[in-house]
Symmetry: C2
Subunit: 430 residues, 2 copies
């Protein structure tokens, strides 16, 4: 299959943008990218879809999310992190059941795909249901069962039961072409050193990524200093958690030494600007991290603290907030933001097969329609148009591993009306 479009933004090493370009898809991968005339001429008889006045980008990566929390969207707005967690989130989550987790995740997968996101890093509970939902909708993802020291928890009555669930899920989904497990302890303040070491060992045993919320709030810094005599990142380093297979979510409150440590150890960090602003947690030193060599990705965090999972608006916010935080409008460009959401996302998912449109990479992409929306005119530069001017709703096609998930107003892998009805019924009980 060949897709042609006015612009192809490849995100290759040279950040090549092809005018009047085409992508040749073979199986689940990109076989060629180049001028439309060349690609079409070199592949006679190949079926061609013209996306016309569109700009095609590598699929966006939502590198930190809690997909089932769409069930809690709009509950407990305008509260600080701990009040929101204790009053609105935890009491509702205690009543969760598998079908709710699955439907919440399925709706969220549709939301991701609708706005051009093709991959995600999820952390939640009863994660086998998120695997099932993502499998059904057709997205790519890394999925970690949430682990805390408080038992019984939804994922298991005790540590052994919980780890058993993680092992079972890893076994059940081994070899899946798009879905991989992770081991995901919740945060330093909801775990203890022994549990964190056990989680790290389990990740090594299962050969899968390790991920955790880290350095999200000033409270967390204070607590970690009080309890362990170290700031959060240094504490993690003392437990040998800072490894290249590790991904840390948030990292808002870091000192220079911690930034250097994250870079030196090769960890990935996921920036969540909307959630950090909405909970008034602070504003991560993203430009500084990137300058220091930290691999930074972008995420929406859960829909209960965002409240959308529209990665295009997250791109916009990341660019704007990066400038404001660094007090320098040049500190975070549209290109920097797109890099975070594509190549940075690949780093955070520990998946080198995504993040750019090049031969051999997975055929994960989306297409912003530049013809219909007034805000898409004029388009001097498709990266600027995507990051600064688009709402995300201009997306007319989402492809994951060569398979069309969303096209011209329709979800192609699920019956949206039926899913929505089932979701609304479950959400009303949540």
């Amino acid at each position: 299959m060949i897709y042609t479009a006015d612009w192809i933004v490849t995100q290759d090493a040279a950040r090549t943008v092809v005018r009047d370009g085409a992508i040749l898809v073979r199986g689940d991968s990109v076989a060629a990218v180049g001028a439309a005339s060349d690609v079409v001429a070199a592949n006679p008889g190949e079926q061609t879809v013209s996306l016309g006045e569109s700009a095609v980008f590598p699929g966006l990566v939502d590198a930190h999310c809690h997909l089932p929390m769409s069930l809690l969207r709009g509950r407990g707005d305008d509260k600080p992190l701990f009040a929101w967690l204790n009053e609105d989130v935890f009491p509702r989550e205690a009543k969760l059941f598998p079908e709710a987790v699955r439907l919440g995740a399925a709706l969220s997968c549709c939301e991701l795909a609708r706005y051009g996101c093709t991959s995600f890093f999820d952390m939640y509970m009863l994660e086998e249901n998120v695997f099932a939902a993502a499998d059904e909708v057709g997205l790519r993802g890394v999925l970690g069962e949430n682990v805390t020291r408080f038992f019984p928890q939804l994922g298991g009555a005790d540590r052994d039961a919980l780890f058993g669930r993680i092992r079972r899920n890893a076994e059940a989904w081994r070899g899946h072409p798009r879905l991989r497990p992770a081991v995901a302890p919740h945060a330093p303040y909801t775990t203890d050193p022994e549990l964190l070491r056990e989680c790290r060992d389990l990740a090594l045993e299962l050969a899968c990524p390790f991920a955790m919320h880290l350095a999200e709030t000033e409270d967390e810094t204070r607590t970690t200093l009080d309890e362990h005599g170290m700031r959060p990142v240094r504490y993690c380093d003392s437990l040998e958690l800072l490894r290249p297979d590790a991904t840390f979510f948030h990292c808002v409150h870091l000192d220079a030494e911690e930034i250097a440590l994250l870079a030196e150890r090769g960890c990935a960090v996921v920036h969540n600007p909307a959630s950090n602003l909405k909970l008034a947690s602070g504003s991560a030193p993203v430009a500084e991290m990137i300058r220091s060599g930290v691999r930074v990705a972008l995420g929406t965090d859960g829909p209960a603290s965002n409240n959308s999972q529209n990665m295009v608006r997250e791109l916009w916010l990341a660019a704007l907030l990066g400038k404001a935080t660094a007090r320098d409008p040049a500190a975070m460009s549209a290109q920097n933001a797109l890099d975070m959401a594509t190549l940075g996302g690949a780093a955070a998912l520990h998946d080198p097969s995504i993040g750019s449109l090049e031969p051999g990479k997975k055929a994960d992409f989306f297409a912003i329609d530049l013809g219909s929306a007034p805000n898409a005119h004029p388009c001097a530069n498709p990266v600027s148009a995507l990051v600064y001017a688009a709402s995300g709703a201009e997306n007319r096609l989402t492809v994951v591993g060569g398979r069309e998930i969303w096209r011209d107003g329709e979800f192609l892998t699920v019956d949206w009306a039926e899913l929505r009805e089932r979701f609304d019924r479950v959400a009303a009980r949540s």
Copy 2:
């Protein structure tokens, strides 16, 4: 005409939200708002449009914009204010011609309407062309010719010619049901005390609002202190510009005394979060201003520094940034943000006939479709759904003064395809 919808968010004094509600429109005004069953029963035979699973809100007010600057969208991203103005904006603006101004403004009016905005406060040059564009598309607005001390300028070869243009426009559009003139000097640093006093006198003579950029950057504070020995707001007060008919754009850098002055004098202030972040100008003390009694509205600023004029995403950003700036997630709620963009907008446009849906007010409103977009589920509260979860593209109907401007994917007052083609041609030359 009766419009029914699942939710009507009235923005009346009690912030009433009507479930299964209706709006009765007579002429250009709201005649009744209430339960759909009551409104329909009381008006037998009235034509009814069912908006079904939608939430209807008073039209958003973009209280600070430069509509024709859609021509410059995406030019000079990622630069500080003065470099961007001098390298990208001013050289291009020097080549502007009336047809370009008109087409730029017309495209922007479509963009505003597309995302639920019904009224605006514009400041630009050759403003008669913006009047014509807004008249054609059918929006409501206050329009001010930009005034600086640098002659010749696009609006006039000298002060008399420029003021002549302002008087002619005021005369030409006197009595228009939707469009009103303003007198709009650019900023303290591009004017002088005499010119500002003359502008104020002209506004008094024409009985129209006075508006100016104010306290946007730290540079401006320094310059005003150097040249006039006073901070910007105090300087304006010394010239007797702080009056209830005045609207000041930005007001990012204020001390406590300046906030108190703006409140005491009854001025309106327009917050432009996206532009302030993008240019790294800073973050306005909005929660503090509101607490102090300043009437605060919301604006997009020009599409060259935003780069969209989607007031729904501006609502989201205003809520998020308000929390972050105050370091308190409760400091700026979704309701506060909506208040800024509706009732605050009415204050900034000095137009008490808009800002809420109540009998006697203008029939300006829009309708967010809660049925189709995954991010609209579940909807616990339509104000939260609009501010935190919507992209703006869910809007399916924009009505201004009882007239439908946008409905279900179509612009009804202009031929979009033709406008777009003419705009793109002119933009390519700009």
